[in-house]
């Protein structure tokens, strides 16, 4: 038997365990009469780090889940997870890495029109939400990801998106026009222009 945790840790543990949805620290605190649960959450995360279930934070909300390395034991026979089309996965990635982003901006990256159903699937899955409108002519709707998106893909925050720092550093999250303007401004005459320009683009981003 491990050492008995203190009452607050036990209470936070029981609350998170019983909850049907991920809970923010504030929600847990409110449920427990206003106690400061930050330390208890850290203690729990640490305690469960090596166990078969884990306490994780996703987008500011906490929940229990099974340890990822046990996935092979638990994968369900019936795949009730919706299999996303390639169009939907690309669109989801574009929204996640660029958010907030309009449909036109998504299409500019993918080079094709986005079918109506593609965004609907993501909205229905609860991974994408309408995040308002861009204040430009036409006031297009802009999209962003949801906390459920982070929970589903096991991301603590958007900063944990795979490779996002590298992409940003490489300027690959900037609009083509911005990079183009930066690359074209030096009046180079060399044949090497293309690769040079791109290389310097990497550094300057």
């Amino acid at each position: 038997m491990s050492e008995a945790p203190d009452d607050l840790v036990r209470a936070v543990e029981a609350t998170l365990f019983a909850a049907e949805a991920p809970m923010s620290a504030e929600a847990i605190s409110a449920h427990l009469g206003g106690a400061d649960v930050t330390g208890a959450l850290q203690a729990l995360a640490l305690h469960y780090a090596c166990r078969g279930v884990a306490v994780v934070e996703r987008g500011g909300r906490w929940h229990f889940q099974t340890a990822p390395d046990l996935a092979h034991l638990l994968r369900r026979e019936r795949e009730d997870l919706r299999k996303l089309s390639r169009a939907a996965t690309e669109t989801l990635a574009i929204i996640a890495y660029h958010e907030p982003v309009s449909r036109a901006e998504i299409e500019a990256i993918r080079g094709v029109q986005t079918a109506k159903g593609t965004l609907d699937v993501l909205l229905e899955a609860g991974w994408v939400r309408v995040a308002g409108r861009r204040e430009v002519p036409g006031r297009p709707v802009i999209f962003a990801t949801t906390p459920d998106f982070l929970s589903h893909f096991g991301l603590a925050t958007r900063k944990d998106l795979p490779g996002i720092d590298e992409l940003r550093a490489a300027g690959l999250l900037d609009p083509v026009e911005d990079t183009l303007a930066a690359l074209m401004s030096p009046v180079e005459k060399d044949d090497e222009i293309r690769s040079d320009a791109l290389a310097s683009g990497d550094e300057s981003a």
Partner: protein, 265 residues
């Protein structure tokens, strides 16, 4: 096939053999058409087949391949043409620009067009790779699971009622006020009725010889409240006797004493 490759991220490391696959080129291209959505998509796939860094691909080679591909596809799938041909036309223009001597080029320059195309391909490739890595993460409901049968948390709202002492007492006062039957009590006052005044005044007139003031007809030592009643009744009695012609009334001035005597027979 292409979707799986995207999902596993294999497409990135150059191990992918492109839409051509193992089969003959034309057939493979045809078979893979359903996986493609548009020109950039196809360009990206073609670029990958060169197995080079996107930044170093030859746009000229790419354009050649694309145009060749369009030629073959058109024969197979006419309905694809529209979208693809826009890009084909643009690429043909780009190709001619790249082949022309630099000084004869119009704005925008062929370099700019080529660079723009390259940048777009890079961005799409980056997003494809990211999508693959994202989909390959430990996903909730597939690799990790939340508790199968959570008890759930419930917050039951309960009312705590308050009421002030004053409100309680005042409410009772209002109820009493509202519900107590309203009774008008008429106090039993001493009055002189008109009949008795008439009898009294006419009998006293009968024995009087001269004018008498009205007040002299009133009971001498009566209660003041009786006197007021008697005065009013006696006045009305006097008026009645005058009307019947049994008495005469005189008043010298307004609000002055009222005199009364028996009518001379």
């Amino acid at each position: 096939m292409s979707e799986e490759l995207i999902l596993t991220g294999e497409a990135l490391d150059g191990a992918w053999h492109g839409p051509a696959g193992a089969a003959g080129e034309d057939e493979a291209l045809y078979l893979e058409l359903d996986g493609w959505e548009g020109p950039l998509d196809l360009l990206l796939d073609l670029a990958r087949r060169q197995k080079v860094d996107l930044r170093r691909i030859s746009i000229l080679d790419l354009v050649d391949q694309y145009l060749g591909y369009i030629d073959s596809v058109q024969a197979l799938r006419l309905e694809l043409a529209a979208d693809y041909l826009v890009m084909a036309a643009w690429l043909a223009y780009l190709k001619s620009s790249l082949l022309l001597p630099r000084e004869e080029q119009e704005e925008p320059s062929a370099e700019e067009l080529a660079l723009r195309l390259q940048l777009r391909l890079q961005r799409l490739a980056a997003m494809r790779e990211s999508a693959g890595r994202l989909m390959g993460r430990d996903r909730l409901g597939r690799d990790c699971f939340r508790r199968g049968a959570p008890e759930g948390l419930r917050v039951d709202r309960k009312n705590r009622w308050t009421c002030e002492w004053f409100d309680l007492v005042q409410a009772y006062g209002q109820v009493k006020l509202r519900s107590t039957p309203v009774v008008h009590m008429v106090r039993d006052r001493m009055v002189m009725t008109l009949d008795s005044a008439l009898a009294r005044v006419s009998s006293m007139l009968g024995v009087a010889l001269d004018w008498m003031e009205l007040r002299d007809f009133l009971p001498a030592h009566a209660d003041p409240r009786l006197r007021r009643s008697a005065l009013a009744s006696s006045f009305v009695a006097a008026l009645e006797l005058a009307r019947l012609g049994k008495a005469e009334m005189v008043q010298d001035e307004c609000f002055g004493p009222l005199h009364l005597r028996k009518t001379a027979a």
